[in-house]
């Protein structure tokens, strides 16, 4: 196996480089479900209580959209269901890890440096996969041991661990294939993340459909996220989806190796195209440059959000049907306003989810500034007559308006599809659109936090992802864990009015927008005073 010579050494190099990152995310992700055990135990100590919670949740479209289908009411099943979004996060972390150690290495030329030493052709790819597989295996084992320590059944706990690990493996392998396709790490990452997003949306549509007429429930079976949910820890402990995941991982891994053997180091399978010999007349300002750098990302987010809007809007009416058809749950739903109330609450929780996702875009767009700085591409621009603030402002236009465009696309698509289903576009479209746009000030606060970090503590700019993680965590588990209100209030998204259905008040939105403005000014003032570039 000459092609794999040196894999072990490269694995050690990866572990050395990622010792902090991996030591953070592996145990952190594994420990999150432990908090669910405590909170569900505390809130629903009796089997009857859990049964009631499960009955309501299993038919709550918002929960099903986020976590997946719920199959039982035992403590273990509730915890595993509640952790249903975590495989997506594990998939994302695995993708980032694999791309970081494959295509990024090639793009920066470090792969060449190592490739000239005694290292086999496939050692780099193999090492990235081995390290990521290993990290996921450790994660799964930690989770299983943690669950067993909470007196949950051992077989279910191991199945639960396998669910997490299998999700990580499959997306690591998908990332390995993506890394062979393009010569840029950014586009490879985008391909893999879009695949992950598609897997999530397929699972979401399929599961929501099985709440209603079930016509599209087969879509869940096309999704790797759907497969790992089919393991059903503590409620069947089915191991065949794990076998499927292992097979898919192996096949994708071999595909990646085969593709890698067919190309040169540094090159992608998709050939690079030539560009124009001179710039279009408009390309002559920092804003024009920022447009060139952001437009692909912007188009991707708008398209993705529009599709998500169609999907989320398309299932809304079916949720109403479910309530209308279900006599047993009539009383329960009557308390939240009947079918209309349930649909509104579903739409509101979906717009809130869209807002959190759009905040991810806002951070990504803002961090472009930092990428330009560390990549050495800010310096030539700042060496021209373009001032710092104009340079930064040009990128921030996209952090501010990009999420606005994406949320508008999602809101329009969602309102339109839902309106067409109910036959009242004139009523539904503005309500849903308003619900989506109301997220914007909170999204801006997250973007502004990124600007502050970039301006004052540039080396920690990526910590803004942590801020978003806190917002996500509070939105996902905050109420279930019965956090104090002041803790929930940390997240700007807590202050966004629940629309449609809730009362629309301008005060929190204006306050959030003002806060975002103040934070941005602080960040830009810091940028104006500091050295450039700071490595």
């Amino acid at each position: 196996m000459n092609e794999l010579t040196g894999t072990g050494k490269l694995v050690r190099l990866i572990l050395r480089r990622d010792r902090v990152l991996m030591a953070l995310w592996v145990p952190w992700v594994a420990l999150v479900p432990l908090s669910y055990v405590a909170s569900i135990n505390e809130i629903f100590p009796t089997a009857a209580g859990r049964q009631g919670y499960a009955d309501a949740s299993a038919h709550n479209a918002g929960f099903v959209a986020l976590y997946g289908s719920l199959f039982g009411s035992s403590l273990g099943e509730l915890v595993a269901w509640r952790a249903g979004f975590i495989p997506v996060m594990i998939g994302l972390l695995s993708i980032l890890t694999v791309i970081r150690h494959t295509r990024t290495e090639e793009e920066t030329g470090r792969r060449e440096l190592l490739g000239a030493t005694v290292v086999g052709r496939h050692a780099g790819l193999a090492a990235a996969l081995v390290a990521t597989f290993g990290a996921n295996l450790v994660l799964g084992a930690l989770l299983a041991v943690g669950m067993i320590s909470q007196d949950l059944p051992a077989s279910g706990s191991w199945a639960f661990g396998a669910e997490f690990a299998a999700a990580g493996w499959m997306f690591a392998a998908i990332a390995a294939v993506a890394a062979q396709l393009t010569s840029g790490a950014g586009s490879a990452r985008a391909i893999a993340i879009v695949t992950l997003g598609a897997a999530y949306v397929l699972r979401l549509v399929g599961d929501l459909s099985s709440l209603g007429d079930g016509a599209l429930s087969w879509l869940s079976w096309l999704s790797p996220i759907g497969w790992v949910h089919q393991i059903r820890p503590y409620g069947g402990d089915r191991w065949w989806p794990v076998a499927v995941a292992v097979c898919v991982t192996a096949v994708l891994g071999l595909v990646a190796v085969a593709l890698s053997a067919r190309r040169d180091v540094g090159a992608g399978l998709l050939p690079p195209r030539l560009g124009p010999a001179s710039a279009a007349p408009g390309l002559g300002s920092p804003l024009a440059l920022a447009w060139r750098l952001h437009r692909g990302l912007l188009a991707g987010w708008i398209a993705g959000f529009a599709v998500l809007g169609v999907v989320l809007g398309g299932v809304a009416e079916g949720i109403g049907d479910l309530v209308r058809d279900n006599r047993d749950l009539e009383d329960l739903f009557a308390r939240v306003g009947g079918a209309a109330g349930v649909i509104d609450s579903y739409l509101a929780s979906m717009t809130s989810l869209l807002g959190l996702i759009a905040a991810g875009y806002a951070i990504q767009a803002t961090l472009r500034l930092r990428n330009e700085e560390t990549g050495g591409r800010a310096e030539p621009v700042l060496g021209t007559a373009a001032g710092r603030l104009r340079w930064a402002g040009s990128h921030l236009v996209f952090s501010i308006l990009g999420p606005a465009a994406a949320l508008a696309a999602a809101g329009l698509a969602m309102g339109l599809t839902h309106g067409l289903n109910t036959g009242d576009v004139g009523r539904e479209l503005p309500r849903v659109l308003a619900g989506a746009m109301a997220q914007l000030p909170a999204v801006w606060v997250v973007a502004a936090i990124t600007v502050v970090l970039f301006g004052l503590l540039p080396r920690l700019a990526a910590v803004s992802w942590g801020a978003l993680a806190i917002c996500l965590l509070l939105a996902m588990v905050g109420t279930a864990l019965r956090f104090d209100q002041w803790v929930l209030d940390i997240s700007p998204f807590t202050h966004v009015p629940h629309l449609p259905g809730g009362t629309a008040t301008a005060t929190p939105l204006v306050t959030l927008a003002a806060m975002a403005a103040v934070l941005s000014v602080v960040g830009l003032a810091g940028l104006r005073r500091r050295d450039m570039p700071i490595a």
Binding site: E107, S183, G184, G186, P272, R273, L274, G275, P276, A277, S278, A279, A280, L283, G284, S285, P286, A288, L289, R292, L293, G296, G375, G376, R377, E379, P380, V381, L382, G383, T384, A385, A386, G387, R529, D531, M532, P533
Partner: protein, 305 residues
């Protein structure tokens, strides 16, 4: 004579590292000034201070009559900068980058752009990610040289260029020199390049200026090596102050001599009769080694070759 660049006692620290430690630099308008130093001496930091990208902790800097930090934007219209490590936007073609940077600086001479593209043999249609290091360097050079500016700040501009292109670069700089109204600050550690191009030179080490002046000035500080075949042994030579590393065998002598003692040493040689004579002028290389070699800097180790 007016000065395009002047710094006095610049200090810049990064944490515990003292990148600049009282750096003085004076560049006269219209000259090509060589800025020499080993890696990590502070060349790039100095240029970043001059560009207003970094603020010095102490000392003063003037650039084209303005304050590099406060007047950055206005000054940048009058200068062009080539970073030492050029990275391009992966999705923009080389031609687009040249035009973009030129326009943001306030205009580009299209004829000169076409001429430079041809001379540097650069395909402007390739995307940023497809260029080799040398070609990325050329993109930045064309963008800077095609701009109509008063000052060029070039940070190791020929790193990654092949010898043919290095020669082309020298030609272009010589043409700039002949125009007479453009000032060039050329940071480099390639001595031959600086020797070939520069009117005046500043040598720095550890963030401090160790030598500055014209090449001729600096040559006074170093030694000429002499090899001669003599009719008879030159007895007085060894006693002469300023003669170093004297070796004599079979009527041949080799020695290095300080510039001030050259005249007297030659008189000694002709006194006994010279059959053949080879003299090597002091090179910048020796100057460089003398300043960078710590032992050499400490005292009396002569540079022999």
């Amino acid at each position: 004579m007016t000065e395009a660049i002047r710094t006095d006692g610049l200090v810049k620290t990064f944490g515990r590292t003292r990148a600049l430690d009282g750096l003085d630099l004076a560049v006269r308008t219209g000259e090509v000034h060589g800025f020499l130093g080993p890696n990590g001496a502070g060349k790039t930091t100095t240029i970043r201070v001059l560009l207003g990208l970094m603020r010095a902790d102490a000392g003063a800097a003037r650039l084209l009559g303005g304050d590099p930090w406060a007047d950055a934007t206005a000054l940048h219209r009058r200068l062009a900068y080539v970073p030492g490590d050029v990275t391009l936007w992966p999705s923009l073609s080389g031609g687009e980058v040249i035009d973009l940077l030129g326009r943001m600086r306030g205009g580009l001479d299209q004829r000169r752009r076409a001429d430079l593209l041809e001379r540097f043999d650069l395909d402007p249609r390739k995307k940023g990610r497809a260029y080799s290091k040398g070609n990325r360097q050329k993109v930045a050079l064309v963008a800077a040289l095609a701009s109509d500016v008063e000052l060029l700040l070039l940070d190791e501009p020929t790193s990654g260029l092949d010898p043919l292109m290095e020669e082309e670069f020298r030609q272009v700089i010589r043409e700039e020199q002949r125009r007479g109204d453009r000032t060039v600050l050329l940071s480099s550690h390639i001595l031959a390049e600086v020797e070939a191009l520069c009117d005046r030179i500043t040598i720095i080490r550890d963030g401090r200026t160790v030598e500055t002046g014209t090449l001729a000035d600096l040559r006074h500080l170093t030694r000429t090596s002499i090899q001669a075949e003599l009719v008879a042994p030159a007895a007085g030579l060894a006693a002469l102050p300023g003669v170093h590393n004297l070796r004599a065998e079979d009527g041949r002598v080799r020695f290095d001599v300080d510039t001030h003692a050259l005249d007297e040493a030659l008189r000694q040689l002709t006194g006994v009769g010279v059959r053949s004579l080879v003299s090597q002028p002091p090179t910048l290389e020796e100057l460089f080694l003398r300043h960078y070699d710590r032992a050499g800097a400490a005292g009396d180790v002569a540079v022999s070759r």
